[in-house]
C-alpha cells in the first residue's frame, strides 16, 4: 500500500500512531486492520511504512505504526476488500492476498 502512496523512502518517521483492530477470524481481522490504517491516512493526512505488532491473535491485533505526515495523502486506495481474499500459512509465516479498491 505504501508503494502505491508514493512515500518518500528513508525519511525519519514524523508520524507515530497506535492501532487496534478486531475481527471474527484472521481474514476479517486483516481487512479491518488495513481499513483502520487507510482511514487514519485519509483523515489525518499521514502515510505509514513501518509497523510493530505488540499483540496479535486470530481475532485481535494491536500495533504501532510509523510514517510521515505530508498533510495530504497521495493515496488513491479507498479500501481493502474481502474480494478473493486469501490468507495462507507457510512454514514460518503467513502470506496474504488482498484486493484493494482504488
Amino acid at each position: 500500500m505504501t508503494s502505491l502512496c508514493q512515500l518518500e523512502s528513508g525519511k525519519e518517521a514524523s508520524a507515530v500512531r497506535d492501532f487496534e483492530a478486531e475481527g471474527i477470524d484472521r481474514k476479517t481481522l486483516l481487512v479491518n486492520w488495513l481499513n483502520e490504517i487507510l482511514y487514519a491516512e485519509q483523515t489525518c493526512g499521514e502515510i505509514y511504512d513501518r509497523f510493530r505488532i505488540s499483540e496479535a491473535s486470530d481475532n485481535r491485533l494491536h500495533a504501532r505504526l510509523y510514517g510521515q505526515a505530508p498533510g495530504t495523502t497521495a493515496s488513491h486506495i479507498k479500501a481493502a476488500t474481502f474480494h478473493d481474499l486469501e490468507v495462507r500459512k507457510t512454514a514460518e509465516e503467513f502470506e496474504a492476498t488482498v484486493v484493494l479498491d482504488v
Binding site: 471474527i24 481499513n35 482511514y39 488513491h76 479507498k78 474481502f82 474480494h83 479498491d101
Partner: protein, 483 residues
C-alpha cells in the same frame, strides 16, 4: 473455467447459463450482449461473478448482466439481482462502495455555437466551483444537525436552502429523497468522512461534462424532455463520496459474522448479506438510504454550482443559457419494488450495481409529466466518446425488473491504462478533436482513456434492440472536468 460453450443463446442478444452449471445456483444467470460484448465479458471474471450472484438466498427469476458488465468486487458491475421478500437477502456488495453513484443531466436553451466562444472560461469556472480529486473538500461544511438532515432528506434539504427548485426534485429518481433513511445506523466515521464532501466530484471515473446534443432518435420524446439538436447539455457523474464508501465498508465487515449467524454459505466473502427483514438487513437498508440521500444532495449542490458558473460567465453575453434538469438517476442502489412475475405481483429487493432503473410508461412512481414517456435513462460514455439519453420501457419491466445498462463498461484495468497511455498526450489528442480537458491528475486522466472502455454505442444498441430501454438522443463532449 467458464467459456462460451457454457452459455445457451436464448434470443439474438440474450445468453443464459442454466442452474445446472453449478450446483449452488438457485436460478439461471442471464446476459444481454452481442457477440463482441460477450467476448469482452468472458475476458475477465465477471461472468463467474454473475454466476456467484445466482446463489444468493431468495434470488428470483434470473441473475442478470447488462452488456456493459465487467469485473467488480464480489458482484459484477453491470448486474441486477432481485430477491423475493421477506425471506430474500440484501447485500451491501450488491449495491457497491459508491452508494447511489449516478448521473444528472442538465439542458440549456443555448446552442454550441453560442457557448463555444466562452467555453474555456466556463470550464475554468466549473473546475473552480466543483472541487474534484481524492479527498477533496466542498464549499459547504455541515454542522452535525445539518448533515443528519441531509442524510434524511436528500435534495429536499437543498430545496429548503435555496440550492434546488421543485422542478429539480420532480426530475430526480425518488424525487431526490430515498425513504427509509435513519442516520442512527450510520457510523461516526461515515459522518466524519461526509461532513465536508457535499458538492464535490471526487476522483476515478467521476466527471462533469459539457456536451452538445449531436443526434436525436425520437423527436417527440426529446422535445418533451427539452432536448433539441445542437443545444448544450451538462452531465454530472458522481455519488456519495467517502460517506457511502464508509457505510459499505462498515457493513461488509459486520456481515462477515451475520452470514455465519444465519447459516448462509457464499462463494465470495464480498457477497455477504442478511435477510432483508432481519435487524441487520434493515440496519444496512436504513444506512444505505442515508448515503443515497447524501448522493442526491451532492449532485444537487453540484448542479447549483454549475448553474452559478454559467450565470457568472454567460449573463449579459447570450440569452437562454439557463440550465433545466432533464433527470437524475442512480446506478448503484438496492430498492424495494413490486414486479409482475408469473402473472402475480411480487415484492422484491432489486440490487442494481452498475445498472440503471428504467421504468416504462405508466409507472406509478414517475411524476405526471414523465408517465407518458417513461423514465429518462442517462448513459454516460467514456471520456471523449458519446453519451446517451434513453427512456425506460415496458420491455424492461417484463425482462429485467425495470433495469438497463449504466455506461460503457471497463475492458482494461486502471493500472494497464496508466502503463500504456500518457495523460498529457491524451489531453492534447482530445483537444485536437475539439474536447477541452480540465483535470487535476494526468495519471487519473490516463486511467479513464477511451481505450480502457467498451464502445458505449454498441452497449446502448443492445439494450435498445432487446427493448429494455429506448434511444432518444446522443450527446458528444466539448469539455470534460475531472479530478
Amino acid at each position: 473455467m467458464l467459456n462460451k460453450h457454457n452459455l445457451v443463446r436464448v434470443a439474438e442478444y440474450v445468453w443464459e447459463i442454466p442452474p445446472t452449471f453449478r450446483e449452488d445456483m438457485r436460478v439461471p444467470a442471464r446476459l444481454y450482449a452481442d457477440e463482441d460484448l460477450l467476448d469482452a465479458a468472458l475476458s475477465d471474471n465477471s461472468i463467474v461473478q454473475l454466476v456467484n450472484t445466482a446463489t444468493l438466498p431468495g434470488v428470483i427469476q434470473h441473475a442478470i448482466a447488462m452488456p456493459d458488465i465487467h469485473q467488480g468486487y464480489g458482484f459484477p458491475i453491470g448486474g441486477v439481482v432481485a430477491t423475493r421478500l421477506p425471506e430474500g437477502v440484501i447485500s451491501p456488495g450488491g449495491v457497491g462502495y459508491d452508494i447511489n453513484c449516478g448521473v444528472r443531466l442538465l439542458i440549456s436553451g443555448a446552442t454550441v455555437e453560442e457557448i463555444k466562444p466562452h467555453l474555456e472560461e466556463i470550464a475554468s469556472s466549473l473546475y473552480a466551483n466543483c472541487p474534484s480529486g481524492v479527498g477533496c473538500r466542498g464549499h459547504l461544511r455541515l454542522t452535525n444537525s445539518e448533515l443528519v438532515r441531509v442524510l434524511h432528506e436528500g435534495s429536499r434539504w437543498m430545496l429548503e436552502k435555496g440550492y434546488a427548485s421543485l422542478e429539480d426534485l420532480d426530475r430526480t429518481e425518488e424525487f431526490g429523497r430515498m425513504s427509509g433513511a435513519d442516520s442512527a445506523f450510520v457510523s461516526n466515521r461515515a459522518h466524519e468522512r461526509g461532513r465536508d464532501q457535499l458538492g464535490t466530484l471526487g476522483a476515478g471515473n467521476h466527471f462533469l461534462e459539457v456536451d452538445k446534443v449531436a443526434e436525436i432518435y425520437d423527436e417527440a420524446i426529446a422535445a418533451h424532455l427539452g432536448i433539441y439538436s445542437g443545444n448544450v447539455a451538462v452531465q454530472i457523474h458522481c455519488g456519495s463520496r467517502g460517506l457511502g464508501h464508509q457505510i459499505c465498508e462498515d457493513f461488509v465487515s459486520r456481515f462477515q459474522e451475520t452470514v455465519r449467524n444465519y447459516g448462509i454459505t457464499l462463494p465470495d466473502r464480498e457477497l455477504v448479506c442478511a435477510p432483508f427483514d432481519s435487524k441487520e438487513g434493515q440496519e444496512y437498508f436504513h444506512a444505505m438510504a442515508c448515503a443515497a440521500n447524501f448522493a442526491f444532495a451532492n449532485r444537487q449542490l453540484l448542479a447549483h454550482m454549475i448553474r452559478r458558473s454559467f450565470e457568472e460567465i454567460l449573463a449579459g453575453r447570450i440569452k437562454g443559457f439557463e440550465l433545466r434538469q432533464v433527470y437524475d438517476i442512480a446506478h448503484n442502489m438496492a430498492k424495494v419494488e413490486e414486479h409482475e412475475i408469473d402473472g402475480g405481483s411480487v415484492r422484491v429487493c432489486v440490487h442494481r450495481k452498475g445498472s440503471t432503473r428504467a421504468f416504462g410508461p405508466q409507472s406509478a412512481v414517475l411524476p405526471d409529466d414523465l408517465r407518458e414517456i417513461g423514465q429518462p435513462v442517462l448513459i454516460p460514455g467514456s471520456m471523449g466518446t458519446a453519451s446517451y439519453v434513453l427512456t425506460g420501457t415496458a420491455g424492461a419491466m417484463q425482462q429485467t425488473f425495470g433495469s438497463t445498462c449504466h455506461g460503457a463498461g471497463r475492458v482494461m484495468s486502471r493500472a494497464r491504462a496508466k502503463r500504456i497511455v500518457r495523460g498529457s498526450e491524451l489531453r492534447q489528442q482530445l483537444r485536437d478533436r475539439g474536447i477541452l480537458i480540465c483535470a487535476g491528475s494526468m495519471s487519473g486522466l490516463a486511467e479513464e482513456a477511451p481505450l480502457a472502455y467498451k464502445d458505449v454505442s454498441r452497449v446502448v444498441d443492445v439494450v435498445h434492440r432487446v427493448g429494455i430501454a429506448k434511444k432518444i438522443a446522443r450527446l458528444e463532449p466539448i469539455a470534460v472536468i475531472k479530478g
